[in-house]
């Protein structure tokens, strides 16, 4: 399971060794507290997040 993890704040936030810029989104394999989380269940969705098949 992968998660689309978005920093909702208008400030930089750390998540362990990861650093999220304000409003930045990363795809992670875990769902940390304090972020907006969206599950990515479809392979197609993941491809879209990465910019699709090019």
């Amino acid at each position: 399971m992968k998660y689309k993890v978005t920093n909702p704040l208008e400030q930089t936030v750390k998540c362990g060794k990861l650093v999220f810029a304000p409003k930045e989104t990363k795809v992670l394999e875990f769902a940390p507290e304090g972020f907006n989380i969206e599950k990515i269940e479809q392979t197609e969705q993941l491809k879209n997040l990465k910019g699709g098949n090019k």
């Binding site: 909702p8 704040l9 400030q11 304090g34 972020f35």
Partner: protein, 200 residues
């Protein structure tokens, strides 16, 4: 409900990061001191024996908390239901255990509000008279300038200072003090979600 004689014993405190929720901190806080910035003036003595007033720009407002957190910061401050620490408010937030707060040059704006009320609501919430009474102090776009732990009395106590200028660069107020109460129906509206463009 009867008019309260005083606001005593309890108060509600919340702190919000920009685009985050208002996080209650009253559970770990013992005292609050609000030093509203002075609107001072100097006096110029004239040769006639008269006095001229020279106004000084209003000073920043400083809110000082004495608190007893047991953590370095609050995990997931953006959506937390209770505050658990203060070091992160002066540096960079860490959303994951272990919470690691490094000294850095980050300066981040926060909103703090303190409310005394006989309604069973959080500090940022709506209060309607005449059912309830409330007095609220709100300071937005302020910075945590000092977080000082001490163990002098055998208990880890933090003295935390939050400082905010009276106005932004356009002259719009950063600080407001409001209340509701009395016989007629009136509403102390809930604070709007705090963002870089909405103060309260």
């Amino acid at each position: 409900m009867a008019i309260p004689d005083t606001w005593s014993e309890v108060a509600k405190i919340c702190i919000a990061a920009q685009s985050g929720v208002d996080v209650p901190f009253e559970a770990i806080t013992e005292t609050v001191d609000i030093d509203i910035g002075d609107k001072d003036f100097d006096v110029i003595s004239t040769l006639s024996g008269g006095r001229l007033v020279k106004f000084s720009p209003q000073e920043p407002t400083t809110i000082t908390l004495e608190a007893y957190p047991v953590a370095a910061g609050t995990e997931g401050l953006a959506s937390a239901t209770a505050g658990t620490g203060f070091f992160d408010l002066m540096n960079t937030l860490d959303n994951t255990q272990p919470i690691v707060v490094l000294a850095d040059r980050t300066r981040t704006k926060y909103r703090m509000c303190i409310m005394w009320t006989d309604a069973n609501v959080d500090a940022e919430a709506q209060v309607i008279a005449p059912t309830n009474f409330a007095t609220r102090v709100v300071a937005a776009d302020g910075y945590f300038t000092s977080v000082k732990p001490s163990f002098t009395d055998g208990v880890l106590k933090f003295t935390v200072t939050f400082k905010v200028p009276p106005f932004d660069s356009s002259g719009t107020a950063y600080v407001k003090v409001e209340s509701v109460g009395g016989a007629t129906t009136a509403t102390l509206t809930a604070l709007a979600s705090y963002t870089s463009t909405v103060k309260y």
